[in-house]
């Protein structure tokens, strides 16, 4: 090399930055599973190309393309990628289904009184356009909350921060009330009727759910739920609600079903393959989806506790978590930190799953939410709305960076026709609730 070439080589090595994350073996294995499933899909759907005839493949080569493979794909995935994907069916009743419920119920008289903060109809801050106006993002609140804790219900927004549950006025972003509740486990509150439920305590052998009045945040109930084995610490892992009106608690090696009306545990479903990393109830309440740390998705009859099926992808060290169930299947996340991303498994079959969104970095996540009849996936790269039936991305927008540093949208929720999210700008150390104006395709 001559001097000029040496200068070029030196400059390239000097200026080319360090990557924000590394590629891992798990990334590669996940991709191979997708590729294998896709090749199976093609075999099922496309005619064999004649010699000299080009078969249009579509834009597959790059990224995580949708996979709608049949069950036969399992063999392909396992054989070609060194991954074992299994799909089994179970009709036997769960061994512990319907086990005797145990719970303690109390109404705490000594619980901390909620703080009634702002009653003014005026916003504390003027709305501020953020993230280059991504989907019209306007910051209406500058309080710090857990990024995946925002939820809506009973005419209000709710979010948690370090140990506090807050009720937020959707009109102006004002925090109307706040109450400390413990929060040893992260997660979004669940609004059931006029009560907001959170996981308050985790003591090794039990977790305590606390219920707060949706208006005043006065504590109205607590339910102690027995657990066996470690309890998930992912944002959407432990507590979920659903159309049945029950609460579902990922309780180590089982799922505990709680009737929030009577504050009673009504059923315990044993999950020997646990510990359970997340739980979600299908619309209509006919199926209960349970993920375990081994990247396994189990399907149960929530009424009987009978296991209906399971699918898994082995060969990965990451876990499935943060489940959301829709009419078309199950959504979740895998990976943590810089390798985190969201996926959709049609029909709850992990062997057919594909990735959505571009994930999140910097220790953040892209937890999917179902709100307003649409699935939303935030993160630090893309903001996505997708069909709950097919998993097809309806609209997607690139989230800009602030001078090269992460901006993040999480826990998108829709209420009364308005769309909200939690926004973080790490460079500006700015965070709070934003209103969004997504494209029309994101309306259900």
């Amino acid at each position: 090399m001559n001097t000029e070439e040496h200068q070029l080589a030196e400059m390239l090595r000097r200026v080319a930055p360090e990557p924000p994350r590394r590629v891992t073996v798990e990334d590669v294995a996940f991709r191979l599973a997708n590729q294998a499933a896709e090749s199976g899909r093609r075999r099922h759907r496309e005619p064999r190309a004649q010699r000299g005839t080009r078969v249009k493949r579509g834009a597959w080569g790059r990224g995580w393309a949708p996979v709608l493979a049949a069950a036969g794909v399992i063999v392909v995935a396992g054989a070609s990628a060194g991954l074992a994907t299994t799909l089994t069916s179970h009709r036997t009743a769960s061994s512990a289904g319907g086990a005797s419920p145990t719970a303690s119920v109390s109404t705490s008289a000594s619980s901390p009184a909620p703080s009634q903060l702002r009653t003014s109809a005026e916003p504390s801050w003027p709305p501020e356009r953020v993230a280059n106006g991504t989907w019209g993002a306007e910051l209406i609140n500058r309080d710090t909350f857990a990024p995946d804790s925002l939820t809506s219900g009973d005419g209000s927004l709710y979010a948690t921060d370090a140990g506090n549950l807050a009720r937020i006025d959707p009109a102006n972003g004002n925090v109307l009330a706040s109450v400390p509740f413990g929060a040893s486990i992260p997660g979004a509150p669940v609004v059931s009727g006029s009560t907001v439920w959170v996981v308050s305590e985790y003591a090794g052998t039990s977790v305590v759910l606390r219920g707060y009045d949706a208006r005043t945040l006065a504590q109205v109930a607590s339910v102690t739920v027995p657990v066996s084995g470690p309890v998930s610490t992912t944002a959407g892992g432990v507590l979920t609600g659903g159309s049945s009106g029950y609460l579902y608690v990922a309780a180590g090696r089982g799922v505990v079903v709680v009737n929030p009306g009577t504050r009673q545990v009504v059923r315990q479903i044993s999950v020997p393959a646990g510990p359970v990393s997340s739980v979600a109830l299908a619309p209509g309440g006919s199926k209960l989806y349970v993920s375990t740390g081994a990247f396994q998705l189990l399907i149960y009859n929530p009424a009987s506790g009978a296991q209906l099926g399971s699918s898994a992808i082995t060969g990965l060290t990451t876990t499935a978590a943060n489940l959301v169930a829709t009419s078309g299947g199950v959504w979740g996340t895998t990976g943590v930190g810089m390798t985190e991303s969201a996926w959709f498994a049609p029909g709850g079959d992990l062997t057919r799953m594909f990735r959505l969104g571009a994930g999140a970095g910097a220790g953040l996540s892209s937890v999917p939410t179902l709100s307003g009849g649409v699935v939303w996936i935030g993160g630090s790269h893309t903001l996505v709305c997708a069909s709950p039936e097919t998993g097809q991305v309806r609209e997607s927008v690139v989230i800009p960076t602030d001078g090269g540093v992460v901006e993040h949208f999480g826990s998108v929720t829709v209420m009364a026709g308005h769309t909200y999210a939690y926004y973080t700008d790490q460079r500006a150390t700015q965070a709070g609730l934003v209103t969004l104006t997504p494209p029309g395709a994101c309306s259900s």
């Binding site: 090399m1 000029e4 070439e5 200068q7 070029l8 080589a9 030196e10 400059m11 390239l12 090595r13 000097r14 200026v15 080319a16 930055p17 360090e18 990557p19 924000p20 994350r21 590394r22 590629v23 891992t24 073996v25 990334d27 590669v28 294995a29 991709r31 191979l32 590729q35 834009a59 080569g61 790059r62 990224g63 399992i74 063999v75 396992g78 054989a79 070609s80 990628a81 060194g82 991954l83 074992a84 994907t85 299994t86 060969g315 571009a358 970095g361 910097a362 790269h381 893309t382 997607s396 690139v398 989230i399 800009p400 960076t401 001078g403 090269g404 540093v405 992460v406 901006e407 460079r427």
Partner: protein, 174 residues
Amino acid sequence: MEGRPSEPDGFRDFVEARSTALLRSGWLLTGDWPSAEDLVQTALAAAWPRWDSLIRQDAPELYVRKIMVNTYLRWRRRRWNGEVATGRLPELQAYGDVFAQVDARQALIAALDRLPARQRAVVVLRYFADQTESQTAAAMGCSVGTVKAHASKALARLRDAPGLAELLAGGVSS
């Protein structure tokens, strides 16, 4: 499934050891981190089933780089009609003048964007990845003479690229 091929011996070590360098090459080729990551994952996924053979030939990295370059060239040919880029991944803030670093990277990518795909690939393989001319030719499936010609033309174009003179003189460090 019993009897399935498992993760090849040494594959994880290779990924852990070379991931950063491969990603940086990918970034120079594509100009953004999501595409770079996609490129590297594509190449590693292709290498996985052939890993034992590649190890026997003592050429895993050569093969991975070859797949990366060919995939990149294929993408450029297709120009990704209809593909929506996922944007540039945030870059970790470092010490020093962050804005100057970002400017330097943008100037470099802008300069590389001026190059035809094969010239850009030669620049990355030859000068960043430190491949010999014959290794570069092997990765690109062309002759050594063609590599030399691409390199010469690329250097000529880069000489005129705005903002690159300062970088070549040793302006801003990453």
